[in-house]
């Protein structure tokens, strides 16, 4: 039996290595697919509703007539982003960056048009660099869009962007569902039993 064990070890070990790789690939795929599951969306939606409750409570003291919609929608946006980052469970850089932010960074900085690098100076030899400057520019723009990813190497930035896009799509789906439910509840009057919309 010991011999058969020893014999069975090497193919088993090989299978393990292959299995590990497969597991890693599956894990990567499931990381993105996770954002598409109903469970995640519902978990995010409940967090969102709680956050909305907080926003409403905090903006109540202000006279309702003068309530600045702009600041409240910004508060809603911040709350939604934070809820999204919490749902990510801190596994990604952008979620940690959102949670460590204090307030929403206003996009007040005017987008200065970047001067293109002097491509004319690049001779035929220098033209083929590791990363052409056009790519670097775009990567920098992307780094600005994804929170907390300004000075990341390209590979990490691409990973974060992929996860961030999946998360944002889930955020849009969940927020529109919540808005639908709230508008239906508001429009249908204050009935005691609100029919749960099939999601």
């Amino acid at each position: 039996m010991a011999i058969s064990d020893a014999e069975g070890e090497s193919p088993a070990a090989a299978k393990e290595v292959g299995g590990e790789r497969k597991r890693k690939r599956l894990a990567e795929r499931s990381l993105l697919a996770k954002w598409k599951t109903e469970g995640e969306r519902k978990s995010y939606s409940s967090k969102l509703i709680e956050a909305l409750r907080v926003v409403r409570r905090s903006s109540c003291p202000a006279p309702a007539a003068v309530a600045t919609d702009c600041s409240r929608s910004r508060a809603v946006r911040v709350a939604a982003d934070r809820a999204l980052a919490v749902t990510a469970r801190g596994r990604s850089r952008w979620s940690r960056a959102i949670l460590s932010r204090r307030t929403l960074k206003l996009r007040s900085r005017a987008r200065v048009a970047r001067l293109k690098p002097p491509a004319a100076a690049a001779g035929p030899r220098a033209a083929e660099r590791r990363k052409p400057p056009a790519l670097e520019q775009k990567a920098r723009v992307l780094g600005r869009l994804v929170p907390g990813c300004r000075k990341l190497p390209l590979a990490t930035l691409l990973e974060e962007a992929t996860d961030y896009i999946a998360a944002l799509e889930m955020q849009v789906r969940a927020m529109s569902a919540v808005a639908e439910i709230l508008s239906a509840a508001a429009g249908g009057g204050r009935s005691s039993s609100v029919a749960a919309e099939p999601m």
């Binding site: 083929e128 660099r129 955020q171």
Partner: protein, 92 residues
């Protein structure tokens, strides 16, 4: 994308290979909403980055619009019943 010549000139400190980056780019391309037919191998990195930036900006704008809508709804919203509806759907 880059020729093999430039790859050999890469500094040893960067462990990230071009292949890894290409893989990530194709993964990113798969998530983007441009429904490409079959040929997904020859995507240019610049185009993918461009598409990614515009897609993220679009999603940001949607989230902004939705949060505006939600903030308008907050006044008349009955959060308790909405939450009850969610919990009910979770249990069912």
């Amino acid at each position: 994308m880059s020729s093999r010549r430039s790859r050999s000139r890469q500094s040893v400190s960067t462990r990230i290979t071009d292949e890894q980056i290409n893989e990530l780019i194709s993964k990113l391309h798969a998530v983007l909403p441009e429904a490409r037919g079959g040929d997904n191998d020859r995507v240019s990195a610049a185009k993918v980055l461009q598409e990614t930036c515009s897609h993220i900006r679009r999603l940001h704008r949607e989230v902004d619009d939705l949060s505006e809508r939600l903030s308008e709804l907050l006044d008349s919203a009955d959060l308790n019943s909405a939450q009850a509806a969610f919990i009910r759907s979770l249990l069912m």
